[in-house]
């Protein structure tokens, strides 16, 4: 039955140790750090928490996070945006094309503009013409790729140092550090002490050589939270994604808000592409996005359609990606992390009396332990797969408690028309 009774309110799980949510999150993060540190000490894979890894992780997480943020805007207004990847491609091209001629900041703006164009195409298709959201999104992915290939041939082929598949290099953006911090923390990190050196490594990784665009990205996450959850604009936008007919009955211009949301979504995805072409590398290259739009979508789902969770998701993917890029030995150590996580999950499932889930978790935990003990290194292809396998694992584990905006993916038609 569709109605809930007063007598049977939804059960609420008792919060862990009676802590409020932010403190609980902090506690989880700290516990994770302790586990990671333990495993580093046991395996000697010092790259697990080194400054270099963390720095690379941030660099890899930002485009994923920005794409995910784009997805969040769009889905909160009820439009599924599979086209993030295509909008990212457009953005990376825009940045590469303008970046080498007019400077990196101009490239950033162009990336956003190209992304917005992609978003508007998606909005016209889904909101105005009622095309299925997934169909339109896939079309935009194909269109984005095709359009940039064509434009690259027209605009970049004769450029100095560029070609049909890549742009000339741009000047990049400054990467400031907190002065003196690196010198202070490096000796501590190189001692490889339990926990202390890990914290030092992570802090050093977070606060040295941070691109200005990374700071912008983090501000955008905060801004998104404020805009969507603390303003009337945001309430209206979210109401459109939850129940457009209720919103309409209160005079909210449903289609207009969907347009806002999808345009912003495109702009953020474009910026994600721009980040790849300006910060992560210094030029546009065909195939540069490498499916990060989809991973961004996964990060958003992992984050339960909320900015904070999305940041955690993006961080996770960035981290695993950084590991596989930098150090295969460290990826091997990740097997032990997987073991620890699955074991923890098994205990939780046992506690909640979910016997089957617990059994499956335990089997895989044991398997990953056996695998770890019997090998010294993972085969190359598996190492490369790490971020994608993580995506799959995390989503299948997290999917049970997630809640998407109720009207997301539904084509909206105004009442009585």
């Amino acid at each position: 039955m569709s109605t809930t009774l007063e007598e049977t309110p939804l059960e609420k799980k008792a919060p862990l140790l009676g802590l409020s949510k932010p403190w609980r999150m902090a506690l989880y993060a700290f516990a994770g750090l302790v586990v990671l540190s333990l495993i580093r000490v046991i395996t000697g894979a010092n790259d697990l928490t080194s400054a270099g890894t963390v720095n690379a992780a941030v660099m890899l997480a930002v485009p994923i996070g920005l794409a995910g943020l784009g997805g969040l805007w769009s889905e909160r207004a009820g439009v599924v945006n599979i086209g993030l990847e295509g909008m990212m491609i457009l953005g990376s091209f825009g940045a590469g094309w303008i970046g080498w001629q007019h400077g990196a900041w101009a490239g950033v703006l162009m990336a956003i503009a190209f992304g917005v164009i992609g978003g508007l195409v998606h909005a016209v298709a889904t909101v105005t013409f009622g095309v299925d959201h997934v169909v339109s999104g896939v079309a935009i992915n194909i269109l984005g790729l095709g359009a940039t290939q064509y434009l690259a041939g027209e605009l970049l082929a004769d450029s100095p140092g560029g070609g049909e598949t890549q742009s000339p290099p741009n000047s990049g953006l400054p990467k400031p550090s907190i002065p003196g911090l690196s010198g202070l923390l490096e000796p501590l990190e190189s001692k490889h002490w339990f926990l202390l050196s890990d914290i030092a490594g992570i802090l050093r990784g977070l606060f040295t050589n941070v691109s200005l665009l990374t700071i912008v990205a983090i501000l955008l996450v905060v801004l998104t939270y404020v805009l969507l959850w603390q303003t009337p604009f945001g309430l209206r936008l979210r109401s459109v994604g939850e129940d457009p007919h209720a919103a309409e009955s209160l005079g909210v211009k449903v289609r207009l808000y969907k347009y806002y949301a999808v345009a912003v979504s495109g702009g953020l995805a474009g910026l994600a592409g721009g980040f790849l072409a300006i910060v992560a590398s210094n030029l546009y290259r065909e195939g540069q996005t490498g499916g990060r739009g989809y991973i961004g979508l996964a990060a958003m789902i992992f984050g339960n359609w909320r900015p904070g969770g999305l940041m955690m998701g993006a961080g996770l993917f960035g981290y695993t990606d950084a590991m596989q890029l930098r150090n295969a030995v460290a990826v091997h150590a990740l097997l032990l992390v997987v073991f620890a996580l699955l074991l923890g999950l098994t205990v939780l499932n046992l506690y909640r009396r979910r016997w089957i889930s617990a059994g499956v978790g335990l089997v895989f935990a044991v398997l990953s332990l056996i695998w770890y003990l019997n090998t010294d290194e993972l085969p190359g292809p598996i190492t490369t797969m790490t971020p994608y396998v993580t995506t799959l694992l995390v989503l299948s584990l997290a999917a049970q408690s997630l809640r998407m905006p109720k009207a997301s993916g539904q084509v909206y038609r105004p009442e009585g028309k």
Binding site: M1, T3, E6, T231, P232, R236, D243, S249, K406, G416
Partner: protein, 513 residues
């Protein structure tokens, strides 16, 4: 709103000569309505008589083709709901317009948010204060910070009413407000309406429940076939007279004749348990339905009725107990095997479960009988057989349709339901489960469906009847069982129980008679 106009005898709302056409139909024709300030004005009529169309006109959801709308003596043109809201007209929709995943506060202020940070931020504190004030002033208290999905039906309705009051409405339109409420909640609603009325607000109350209308309304306007046919004084008019005005002829009743109950059990459930996430959806359910017996299951929606039906149908696997059909243990059977063994099912939501709306009638006839004569010959569908049998159903069950090739979606609710009843009655069922068989159908079809259920009973079927319409439940049932939070809590005798007693048993408020 000008207070002086309210005392001067100017109507708060006056509709004159409203006509509204849709392609192919005239939904409203020359409708006239006068609502005085500080009164409850009931608009009654059958389903499909044009009440909702009229109210949408008043709420600016569409413009009338002819006629005028006058609010407090000033003729207005309403282009959209915002216009109506700005002029103090608020609407409480029959299907609540609330977003489940937003809080009460967010639902209430949406579109009329109090601002802060220089007009940029949402001022939740101010909203909270205002909502509490309205709660105190009108006796409509509700916690602003819970999610709407955690509220019961009565509370949701309260939120809807606060929503329109928050926008400063002086005229409230309530579209079938009692359809989803149990009697106790209805009483609470009526008390709230008295408070609103005492404060000078006008209430337009749309309903087809005549006893309620007579008890709450100050004036009554009757609509039949799209036009206003009469006004009545609730103090002098009887329900019967009102009904005749509504229907234009005599009203049918759900009474059954003499008992046909036998001592031959058809369906027996013993100690059936259904558990999900540690919560009992059904707890120790034991019941027996005999051949020729209608067992009524009364309960507020969401107390396990759907789960009980799905357990019998095999759509859910029970976690304990046994289910027996005609002395055979069917507990572990698949849904298809159960259907073949003789269970017919009229589902609660015919759009989601009973029909494929985008398929023609004869294909819908095959559904659920896709392995049986006359629909198949060997592994193939027997088109000719299925079509011929669909023609039989259309004839026997009076399904009004131009042909059996039209899509199910083009039939009215009543005719869709008659098609389902006909389908489920074919193939010699032993047990018929009827979940809300007359929900959303008009009075004519309702009478026909009641007849069909009575015939089924006379033919010796066991019938499990679930309904939110307590009169229907009491009238048709041979025995009545009350379900509350997944348990069968009381047996009542339908020949002596009143709807009020049944209602209080349903909420667990008191002992049943």
């Amino acid at each position: 709103m000008k207070p002086e106009s309210e005392s001067a005898g100017v109507p708060a709302v006056e509709l004159k000569g409203i006509t509204k056409r849709f392609p192919g139909v005239v939904a409203n024709r020359d409708v006239n309505l006068r609502v005085m300030p500080g009164t409850v004005h009931a608009v009654v009529g059958e389903n499909g008589a044009g009440k909702s169309t009229l109210m949408k006109t008043l709420y600016g959801m569409h413009k009338p083709d002819e006629g005028t709308i006058t609010l407090n003596g000033e003729q207005v043109v309403l282009h959209n709901p915002s216009d109506a809201i700005a002029r103090g007209v608020g609407m409480v929709h029959q299907h609540f317009m609330l977003a489940d995943n937003l809080t009460v506060l967010e639902n209430i202020v949406l579109g009329a948010e109090p601002k802060r940070w220089g007009g940029f931020g949402l001022n939740r504190a101010a909203a909270r204060t205002r909502i509490r004030e309205i709660g105190k002033q009108y006796g409509l208290e509700v916690d602003p910070d819970v999610l709407v999905e955690n509220l019961g039906v009565g509370d949701r309705q309260r939120v809807e009413i606060i929503k329109v009051l928050y926008r400063g409405a002086r005229v409230l339109v309530l579209d079938e407000p009692t359809a989803v409420l149990v009697p106790q909640e209805v009483d609470a609603l009526f008390e709230a309406l008295q408070v609103l009325k005492a404060q000078g607000l006008s209430i337009i109350f749309i309903s087809h429940k005549l006893d309620e209308v007579r008890s709450v309304a100050d004036d009554i306007t009757v609509i039949r076939r799209g036009t206003t046919v009469a006004t009545a004084d609730p103090k002098t008019v009887s329900s019967r007279q009102l009904a005749e005005l509504m229907v234009g002829s005599e009203l049918p009743s759900p009474q059954t004749s003499e008992s046909t109950v036998t001592d031959r059990p058809v369906l027996e459930m013993k100690h059936v348990e259904l558990v999900k996430d540690g919560r009992h959806l059904l707890r120790d359910v034991t019941l027996t339905i005999h051949a020729g017996e209608v067992l009524g299951l009364a309960g507020v929606e969401g107390n396990g009725q759907a789960e009980l039906v799905e357990s019998i149908m095999g759509m859910r696997t029970v976690d304990g107990g046994t289910i027996t059909l005609a002395a055979e243990n069917i507990t572990t059977w698949t849904t298809r095997r159960r259907r073949e063994a003789g269970i017919g099912y009229i589902p609660e939501d015919r759009h989601r479960h009973g029909l494929i709306l985008d398929a023609p009638l004869w294909e819908n006839r095959v559904l659920g009988h896709q392995t049986r004569h006359p629909n198949t010959s060997g592994p193939l569908v027997n088109r000719a057989g299925a079509r011929a049998d669909t023609e039989r159903i259309v004839g026997e069950y009076d399904v009004r349709t131009p042909s059996i090739d039209v899509l199910a979606s083009s039939l009215s609710g009543g005719n869709q339901q008659k098609l389902i009843v006909g389908r489920e009655m074919s193939g010699n069922p032993k047990l018929l489960i009827a979940a809300h068989p007359t929900r959303g159908v008009d009075v004519g079809a309702q009478a026909a469906i009641w007849d069909l259920l009575r015939n089924a009973r006379a033919e010796g079927l066991a019938v499990l009847l679930i309904s939110a319409d307590l009169d229907e439940l009491i009238g048709l049932s041979d025995s009545l069982t009350v379900i509350l939070r997944g348990e069968l809590v009381a047996q009542v005798d339908p020949s002596t129980v009143t709807p009020e007693q049944l209602g209080s048993a349903m909420t667990g408020a008191g002992e049943a008679a």
